[in-house]
Symmetry: C3
């Protein structure tokens, strides 16, 4: 892609050489076809000394000699670099091909531009949209619907009853749409009987799901993951959970059944949400905090910490108070 076109795609203004760019890179790995980025002026000399053909720079940079490199000026270099990564990744041609060792049911509809890798299994009636990639060792259950430009990296399991939109990335080992954890005790015997887990899992567009993360289907209805949600590795999402748009969740967090997380919430790592919790839009939950069952947490941009989760200032004051008292005793 020409540097002028890339600049347009990422909202930057281009100056200096008009060069061909095909990848993002770090300073040390950069070559003529690479674009790098500079967030602070103190890194500028490093970028100029690198082999990169293009540099994304802050609008207020002072550059005497661009050394023939294309300069892409922007107010938000980090965002521009992310957008450049997306733009250049998409321009990689996806070779449509089903590996001979993959086992695709005759009734599955796999678009001609899809790539299905070694030893993957695609069940009866499943549907996979244009340019999507099913990496090696995946298991796609019967009737699963996968949109366009999706990437199931490797060894992903998708149970029957799951659908996902476009541009969804699922990393290795993730398990999508498995039975939820619901049991009914029989008081007479002390035994637990499985409550039916026959619902669906609906995943929106532009979702990223981390390695070895597990998302359960609904019990009778659906578990819903909204557009733009980003889930890190080793996260658990229980049955009937509803996650709104552009929610970000860090690693090892657990979300219990029927909990609702509204748009734009940010959730740290190792957070625990009880069942039937409501996390309102824009809330920020600090790592390791816990929200007991049925609680509502609200406050756009407010940070919560501790178990039970409370506003950060309150929690820190409690910690400081306790430390002071304990020291006196």
């Amino acid at each position: 892609m020409r540097s002028t076109e890339l600049a347009e795609r990422i909202g930057a203004s281009c100056e200096g050489g008009d060069v061909e760019l095909s990848e993002v890179a770090s300073f040390t790995e950069a070559a003529a076809q690479s674009v790098v980025f500079v967030e602070h002026s103190r890194f500028l000399s490093g970028a100029l000394a690198s082999g990169a053909g293009g540099i994304i720079v802050p609008v207020d940079s002072e550059i005497a000699n661009a050394r023939g490199k294309a300069l892409l000026w922007t107010r938000n270099p980090r965002l521009a670099f992310a957008l450049a990564g997306e733009a250049l990744a998409r321009s990689e041609a996806q070779v449509g091909q089903v590996n001979a060792s993959a086992i695709v049911a005759p009734s599955a509809e796999v678009h001609a531009t899809c790539r299905v890798d070694e030893l993957s299994v695609v069940g009866a009636g499943a549907s996979i949209g244009a340019r999507s990639h099913v990496g090696p060792g995946c298991v796609i259950g019967p009737g699963v619907v996968i949109g366009e430009d999706c990437n199931l990296v490797a060894r992903v399991t998708v149970y029957s009853g799951t659908s996902m939109g476009d541009r969804v990335t699922v990393k290795a080992g993730a398990v999508l749409g498995g039975d939820g954890f619901g049991f009914v005790p029989d008081p007479a015997t002390g035994r637990f009987h499985k409550f039916p887990q026959i619902g669906r899992l609906e995943i929106g567009n532009d979702v990223e799901i981390g390695a070895n993360t597990t998302i359960d289907r609904g019990a009778l209805d659906a578990t819903v993951i909204g557009d733009g949600v980003k889930l890190d590795n080793l996260i658990q999402v229980g049955h009937n959970v509803r996650i709104g748009r552009n929610v970000v969740v860090a690693s090892q967090t657990g979300i219990s059944g029927s909990t609702v997380i509204e748009d734009g919430a940010i959730i740290g790592g190792q957070v625990g949400l009880g069942d039937h919790v409501l996390i309102e839009s824009g809330v920020i939950l600090g790592s390791q905090c816990g929200v007991p069952s049925k609680k509502v947490v609200r406050g756009k941009g407010v940070v919560f910490w501790g178990t039970p989760a409370r506003p950060l200032g309150e929690y820190l004051k409690e910690l400081a108070t306790l430390a002071r008292i304990a020291r006196k005793k």
Copy 2:
């Protein structure tokens, strides 16, 4: 299954039409062959308006017009619905068949009624009982023993040295019987040497094991999972742990080596149990609580919370006290 027979199987008394029922369902998905359930009278009109052929209802329901549906009266509709789900699932005929792409060692004993799916591997001398199902992409190690009516859903790994009873469900990505985490430091070098992990893993009947959950074999002896135990997703069970009957453990809980959990304990999500802990029968551990090494927790039906875990009332009183003091400062 006729509604009269189903009623008998789930301990309900049947009334109204005698219809054929083959599945449990939600109101919205229900068709003539479906049975739904009503837990509170306020949901009754929804059930009657649904397409369901049968409804499980509380004994004290007032129903003027059953609209031709079979009514299954019971004191515990939720339990009856769970039992109905089990009864109807079992009546699904299991087609015994080993997929041509599965690799089964000649010395493995796979019952003629088993189904072994695509690209699974069954090792030498392994044994799989009647009507059990090995889903796609599983790896069953040499000598593993799997009972009857088990279901290894997909991509399950079972190491050599593991045995399981009947009616065990193992969800995708679980790893059973791997080496435990035991090392001996060499003070002279600071290096850690692996303590032999050559024991076994013994799993009882009617156990459910969640997606991506890991259970280690014993170091020299056995790790033991009792009958009726239900483990959620992403749980860690260390070497030599012994879990009694009908214990329920929620997601992301970690159980360290040699810990014992007695019958009927209920353990929340993200709980951490140190090594050599004893959780006595009937204890309830709240989510995220922690029990340090070698501690004993007792009290049938008593709820514990916090780290170190203490009775809920005590913990809440401490939280309230601290909050009050901090506000005054």
Copy 3:
């Protein structure tokens, strides 16, 4: 291996019969070719009564009649037993063989003494050193470098850009070198764009990685796991993390991006480390503790507990103080 040779390998002095020993075992499983160990004199009679051909015993043991067994005297029987397990495991001949169902790219360099098991995939240009084992169902990405004597047990995923040294064990379901979790918000839309995750993962020698553990590659540079590191199951290691030599980390701990853990630190289970944390050499972090972003934790041999992590004595004093105050109210 003769008992005299084994004694030499494990730093013990041998006495009694010179016998052939080929495995470590528990008392109950021990046979003539087995070596067992005794840590306290009260277990001595059990060892002598077992079928073992050899016993590792403390130097101060009093043994009147060795019953023809080889006695291996040492100051540290537990370490000697671990070393015996390692010595005897390595003497097992590794049969070099690529299973017919494995798919190995023609350009991959797999040493003639490697074993590659059923249905594993080895990508283009990957390299696997002498005597290494790739168990069933693994996915080794293009260009991955695996050293000598490694063991990828089963269903391991190794992404492109990963290298590991010699004698590395990776347990089932682990995911190595996946994309890290880094996104840049676009303030104009509220959407998150993926920051490029194009770095590497470098794993040293003698590392053990637990089942279903996930380790992300660096964003632009490398994630580095030092020699002798032992990681338990279900651990998350974020991008650009650097872990020093001989660090031990228990199950379900999460290590956020760019955090550094120095040599010899010991980290309990379910610990959470924020991003850009520094854990200095020899620190001990108790289970479930948490270290907020950018904090430095120091103190060789000092135990920390709680969130935010503080020295154990301080934390226990705070707990005791709070309990005392709450009881009075």
